[in-house]
Amino acid sequence: MYRILKAGQLAGNIYEMVVEAPRVAKRCLPGQFVIVKMDEVGERIPLTICDYDREAGTITIVFQPVGASTEKFTQLRTGDAFRDFVGPLGQPSDLCLESELEETKKKKILFVAGGVGTAPVYPQVKWLHEHGVAADVIVGAKTKDLVILEDKFKAVSGNLYITTDDGSYGRSGMVTKVIDDLLTNEGKSYDHCVAIGPMIMMKFCCLTTKKYNLKTIVSMNPIMVDGTGMCGACRVMVGDEVKFACVDGPEFDGHLIDFDAAMRRQAMYKTEEGRKLLELREGRTHHGGCGNCGGDK
């Protein structure tokens, strides 16, 4: 069992947990992820490592309930435990490798974070800050209440640009607009961009940065099962190669990704999962009739 030392909410429906997992905390690097299983009957859910404390032996995860399993996670409180918690999985971010530090220091780096993707960007920016590299960061959220980790980012970023879709806080508009503004109107230039957020946001970021020939790394979040390279569920097309996101990724060159195909694959279990979610929310009272879940069939 892996104890939850702290469970809380960062914003509306964004949850944060600090979990005791000394083996993971000892070795992990920014960009890697863990797989979490809540209980005996639970799914294996991949979540990015959003912070770590090697001394305390803890890992911070941040998630948004989007389906049955993440919804179940929200019921956990400080003092509860996950049955299984395995990692660190995947490759660390290329930017956060000691061996590449000299090269990294020469680069001007821009991070673009969207929604819940803001959390996994944090350890990368923090690592760079601790190694003497100041990276600029764009944080995008739907609205003011959903802006997360602002103070933490302030402490470690070069320039921090916050934007909200509805203009209720910071700049106004989507992150892609900020990229355009910075690069065309505000005289900024970058050598390297990292965009993390919902698949759709990463897709449009890549379309934007392509115009400027700005190399952009994205963190893919396909469906996974084992996370060790054993099942192939996580395969993504990168250029014309098939890659397993759990061992070759999760970070890839965004300009080589077929996002439309990736998004279609992600929706593969939509109906089967939708059924489970409804069951969870409405319990045994739901016996079909909604026309959506097929519970009556």
Binding site: T228, M230, R264, E272, E273
Partner: protein, 462 residues
């Protein structure tokens, strides 16, 4: 009087009934049936069956005990050579091993050695007979990576030698392929696999799940920082292969590993478990091995019409004879001498069908089997909504790529001495599918046994 040329028939679930459930297909012998079958053994002086057994179980001796009704004695005979008899009795390819060599088989059917082994092991378990606990412990630490048949056997034997053994397992459940690959209807998880794991634990072996060696901790760290004096690698051959044909990333194409893992390890077939699985209506399974049969029969039980698509003919099917027989009884359709060329998709990238070409057998290839060649112009389509690729696996490079000085061959298999399991790295041993590539439970078990002896000799000399 029963026909002495024939095996005592074994009771099975009716094919129509079992096609809709995940309960075990073969019900095994009861005591009377087992004793009757045991009387068919001729107790050959130079028993051929023993030579056919990869771990040389003293087959005539255990059958002789059984015939006398001394089942516990029979179990002890098997236990001298095999650590997992309840499993091997169920999944070994007996027709090409012990039973394939049995003298009885020259005229008539061989003795049903597998079913007798299974009966003996099941009886021992049901009657609470456990392997004797080690008498002495020397406190020296050995790490075992992977809890499949090779790892479990190696750990069990090391514990009997007196070592302080810890198994590190990447998944959340121990058992390797026995839990994530082979389905419940062939190998019950709770009653058989979990009990074998318990037996190993009862010898004092610790199992730490959720530890991926090479990611969570490396072999060098285990030896330098955590005090392990030797390491056994039994990490299996878990990487699925794909064909590289168009359409393979479409929705509805799975590796057999994914499909079986969802169903077996994650128990997607049960409503009370959260992991989903796609319930295809028409499923094509590409391949002809045990893995393909398991995937096909799983899809059938989830309600599909299932086609096995295999490029050679029936005689070359690498699966156990019993599985092919069961699959046919259950209504699996065999499209033999057929090879996929392309997976057809609809406008939403869902699988719509599979385009195949007919094959014929040509000259024998390097493996001695006749090489299948395409018949030009014979393409045809099968309408399916799900395709399961079961084309074989290769070892996971996670360990070899993170362990300094561990040599692998061209096929990414770890190089290890057959007698001792010793690898190119001092103190590190390996065995099972990680060394041989995908093979069998009994070979993995035999390799685990040999390596335990190798490690004992290595540490005794140290």
């Amino acid at each position: 009087m029963a026909d002495v040329l024939k095996k005592v028939p074994v009771r099975e679930q009716d094919p129509k009934v079992r096609a809709t459930n995940f309960d075990e297909v073969c019900l095994g012998y009861n005591k009377e049936e087992a004793i009757e079958e045991a009387t068919r053994c001729l107790h050959c002086k130079n028993a051929k069956c023993v030579q056919g057994c990869p771990v040389n179980i003293n087959i005539p001796e255990f059958i002789a005990e059984l015939k006398e009704g001394k089942i516990e004695e029979a179990y002890k005979v098997i236990s001298q050579s095999s650590a997992l008899p309840a499993i091997c009795g169920r999944v070994c390819p007996q027709e090409s091993q012990c039973e394939g060599k049995c003298i009885r088989g020259i005229k008539g059917e061989p003795v049903s050695i597998g079913k007798l082994e299974r009966f003996t092991a099941d009886w021992a378990r049901e009657n609470g007979i456990k392997p004797p606990a080690p008498e002495t412990r020397n406190g020296r630490k050995v790490a075992v990576i992977g809890s499949g048949p090779s790892g479990l056997t190696c750990a069990g034997d090391l514990a009997k030698y007196g070592y302080d053994v810890t198994i590190f397992e990447a998944l959340h459940e121990p058992g390797g392929v026995l839990v994530y690959g082979i389905p419940e209807f062939r190998l019950p998880k709770l009653d058989v696999v979990a009990k074998e794991v318990e037996n190993v634990k009862s010898l004092g072996v610790k199992i730490e799940t959720n530890v991926i060696i090479g990611k969570s901790v490396t072999i060098d760290e285990l030896m330098d920082e955590e005090g392990f004096e030797a390491v056994f690698i039994g990490s299996g051959a878990g990487l699925p292969m794909f064909m590289g044909i168009p359409g393979e990333t479409a929705k509805g194409v799975f590796s057999a590993n994914e499909y079986l893992t969802r169903n077996n390890l994650m128990k997607a077939f049960r409503d009370d478990y959260d992991t989903p699985i796609v319930h295809g209506k028409k499923v094509a399974v590409v391949g002809g091995g045990n893995v393909a049969m398991d995937a096909a029969r799983t899809a059938l039980r989830l309600g599909a019409e299932v086609h096995i698509v295999y490029r050679r003919s029936e005689a070359e099917l690498p699966a156990r004879a019993e599985e092919v027989h069961h699959a046919k009884e259950e209504g699996i359709i065999f499209d033999l001498l057929t090879n996929p060329k392309e997976i057809l998709v609809d406008e939403n990238d869902n699988v719509a069908g599979i385009r195949c070409i007919r094959m014929e057998l040509g000259e024998p290839d390097a493996s001695g089997r006749r090489r299948p060649v395409e018949i030009p112009g014979s393409e045809f389509d099968i309408a399916v909504d799900t395709v399961i690729m079961s084309l074989g696996t290769s070892p996971n490079p996670l360990i070899s790529s993170t362990t300094i000085g561990l040599d692998t061959n061209r096929r990414k298999c770890i190089i290890a001495d057959e007698e001792t399991g010793q690898t190119s790295k001092n103190g590190v041993f390996a065995g099972g599918d990680a060394v041989t590539g995908a093979a069998t439970v009994i070979l993995a078990m035999g390799a685990g046994k040999a390596a335990a002896k190798g490690i004992h000799e290595f540490l005794s000399a140290k």
